[in-house]
């Protein structure tokens, strides 16, 4: 094909080549478009997430962060686009994914207990009718223990605080023992102790060579928590390691006027990036 590469400034994320070729990437998205009505919520997004890393999906409210995640998983329909997980179509790689939805997406008045919710993470392995054995319960309890919720195993889920609910959701994902963890705003509205507990668990996952992708809204903690960022505002703005892509220039492009330059400076960005 005889075409010169036109380096679009909007494509600056591409300048830093993706950390891995799509075949090895835990999650590779190409040409993903999602719309609510006639307005694109996500437009033609390409993304290749890095293995054995923690990536934050960042962007202003309504920028399509959660939409990107949900459409990748098939939770909401997409207008176009393809998604592969470890090089295979997502439909054939479900068992390698653990998904932690937003807390508010479920009815917390549902008649069930904490350990029951965690056991849901094992259903794929237990199957339709096999009895839940002691080993399964022990696994569930161990996952609860990892998020510091073992004492709450037999509580009704409606009695939990927001942070505790989030930890239970994370424990359910741990029970899935997946290779790719997708979390939708795991730190939204949780207490400081929970935030610390969650980040410790996620870092431990990374240490076990799992990939973690979080929809994240708090710019102040990006540097401390994540290795990679993906900046989105309906379209992909930039992607790369935190050093490469989490720059004031990219943030400006992502947030527009909402983020004053002075504010970006306070985020302790690498000096050479501040214009």
């Amino acid at each position: 094909m005889k075409q010169a590469a036109i380096t679009l400034a909007a494509d600056r994320g591409r300048v830093h080549s993706p950390a891995a070729p799509p075949e090895d990437s835990p999650l590779a998205i190409s040409g993903l478009t999602v719309s609510y009505g006639d307005k694109p919520a996500v437009f033609s997004v390409d993304a290749t997430f890095a293995p054995e890393a923690m990536t934050a999906i960042i962007g202003p409210n309504g920028a399509g962060k959660s939409t990107l995640l949900k459409a990748s998983l098939g939770v909401i329909p997409r207008v176009s686009g393809e998604v592969t997980v470890f090089g295979r179509p997502i439909e054939r790689a479900r068992e390698r994914i653990a998904y932690v939805p937003q807390r508010a997406s479920v009815d917390w008045d549902f008649p069930t207990t904490v350990i029951d919710v965690v056991l849901m993470g094992l259903y794929r392995r237990i199957g339709l009718v096999r009895r839940i054995g002691r080993a399964n319960r022990d696994t569930a309890l161990e996952c609860l223990d990892r998020v510091g919720m073992a004492d709450f195993a037999h509580r009704q889920i409606g009695q939990l605080s927001g942070g505790q609910q989030q930890r239970v959701f994370l424990a359910r994902a741990l029970a899935q023992d997946a290779d790719l963890y997708l979390l939708d705003e795991p730190f939204a509205g949780v207490d400081a102790a929970t935030e610390r507990a969650i980040i410790d668990v996620l870092k431990a996952l990374k240490a076990q060579s799992r990939a973690v992708v979080c929809v994240h809204h708090d710019l102040a903690t990006v540097r401390a928590y994540f290795d990679h960022v993906f900046l989105i505002n309906v379209r992909r703005i930039a992607q790369g390691t935190v050093e490469e892509a989490f720059t004031s220039e990219n943030l400006q492009a992502t947030y527009g006027g909402r983020l004053a330059t002075g504010h970006i400076d306070q985020l302790s960005l690498p000096g050479q990036q501040v214009s």
């Binding site: 005889k2 075409q3 679009l8 494509d11 006639d38 694109p40 505002n233 309906v234 527009g256």
Partner: protein, 407 residues
């Protein structure tokens, strides 16, 4: 003159004319009152209210007979139905507030239990000596056959009163159904308006019992507002549209059923309303299905065209078959996927617009403007020609778009 035209022109007898006018007025009031329920997403509350009238009808009959009167007095029966509907409504609200049950469960519980109770009472009445010919079953499905002049008069007067009440309450009710929080903040007593709204729904239900029956009156409270929603986005307009749809359904339906024997009035009225709904669902200009399908196809087309051209501009291969079809049918790529000259020109334009956007987003820190960088909005729609010229100046002359020989 044929019977339908006769009935439509109120020439089919005194009773039929009164019933027609009453049905029209009732339909109007039902449509308008139902709008408030619909906008507050409580459409099926009317379901509970309607079914809850049955035990009241039965008990009123028994009380009137025991008091030595005629059990069939319509006003008495309607009063009884109003009382039991009120109790049913109160129970729905009590359950929703004090227990963990959701409103739909409360509605279903009240409607089935009250209806069951009503049936029990009806079987009791059938065993009473004066009960065999009570004809209370007509309240299930409504019946205008053998309707007394007084009954028709009650329907006509009741319908008029309901319309007047709707008119008087329209402003506060619009406010409350549109934005209850704002209404409360601006000093409206939301609870009292809610109460009035429910009162109106109950009144419409009770008046409609004899005409369309307690199951089908629900239709008059739900279908016209849903129909109206297709034609306007403004809540104050929805009320009047719903009233008109309801009124037309009631009047035309009553006329059709008066024009031939054995056409059940209630069913015909509901089917006329449903017909209007079906037409609106399919063909309404903005929210109709036909319009939506068309819009969605166009949208999908635009997305794929744009994505294809973007890929072309970046010299990336295009795999998506639909994208290739879109570009192919516009003559932008050849069958083997290689861009044509026209395609290259388009891609160049898109590449230039992307660069313009880029500059625009650097200059204008206004998120409202840059937020429209969604891939589909043409830059010309957002910025003036002067501004675009300025972007071009910053880009620094036309960029080379397609050079031979690749990298």
């Amino acid at each position: 003159m044929n019977p339908l035209a006769e009935a439509l022109l109120l020439q089919a007898g005194y009773n039929a004319a009164l019933v027609g006018i009453g049905a029209g007025l009732l339909g109007f009031a039902a449509g308008a009152a139902g709008t408030f329920l619909f906008l507050r997403k409580r459409a099926l509350v009317s379901d509970a209210v309607a079914h809850a009238t049955l035990p009241g009808v039965g008990l009123a009959f028994i009380v009137m007979v025991m008091a030595g009167g005629d059990g069939r007095n319509l006003l008495g029966l309607l009063a009884g139905s109003a009382v039991s509907a009120w109790v049913g409504l109160w129970l729905v609200q009590w359950m929703t507030r004090t227990t963990r049950l959701s409103e739909d469960a409360a509605i279903g519980a009240v409607l089935s239990v009250f209806f069951g109770l009503g049936i029990v009472i009806l079987t009791v009445i059938q065993t009473m000596s004066s009960g065999r010919q009570a004809g209370l079953e007509s309240f299930l499905l409504g019946s205008t056959a053998g309707m007394l002049f007084n009954d028709a008069l009650i329907i006509a007067i009741g319908g008029s009163l309901a319309v007047i009440a709707t008119w008087l309450l329209r402003r506060p009710m619009t406010l409350v159904s549109f934005d209850p929080d704002y209404a409360a903040a601006s000093g409206t007593n939301v609870d009292r308006i809610d109460l009035a709204m429910m009162g109106l729904v109950m009144a419409v239900t009770v008046i409609g019992l004899k005409l369309v029956g307690l199951i089908l009156i629900i239709a008059l409270l739900i279908i016209p507002p849903v129909t109206a929603r297709f034609w306007t986005e403004r809540s104050d307009h929805v009320i009047w549209w719903a009233g008109i749809f309801g009124g037309v359904s009631g009047y035309v339906g009553a006329a059709i059923s008066a024009s031939a024997p054995a056409l059940p009035t209630g069913a015909i009225i509901v089917l006329v309303a449903a017909g209007l709904f079906g037409l609106s669902l399919l063909f309404a200009p903005a929210r109709g299905v036909a319009a939506a399908v068309l819009r969605h196809r166009r949208f999908q087309w635009r997305v794929h065209r744009r994505q294809g051209l973007l890929a072309m501009a970046r010299a990336e291969p295009i795999h998506d078959p639909f994208t290739l079809r879109v570009l192919g049918s516009e003559g932008l790529v050849r069958r083997d996927g290689v861009p044509t000259d026209a395609g290259r020109a388009q891609a160049a334009k898109i590449a230039r617009d992307e660069r313009r956007w880029d500059v625009a987003r650097q200059i204008h820190l206004d998120a409202g403007l840059t937020g429209r960088y969604d891939g589909l909005t043409p830059i010309e729609q957002v910025f003036t020609p002067d501004e675009i010229a300025e972007f071009d100046a910053r880009i620094g002359g036309p960029a080379p778009v397609a050079t031979q020989g690749g990298h």
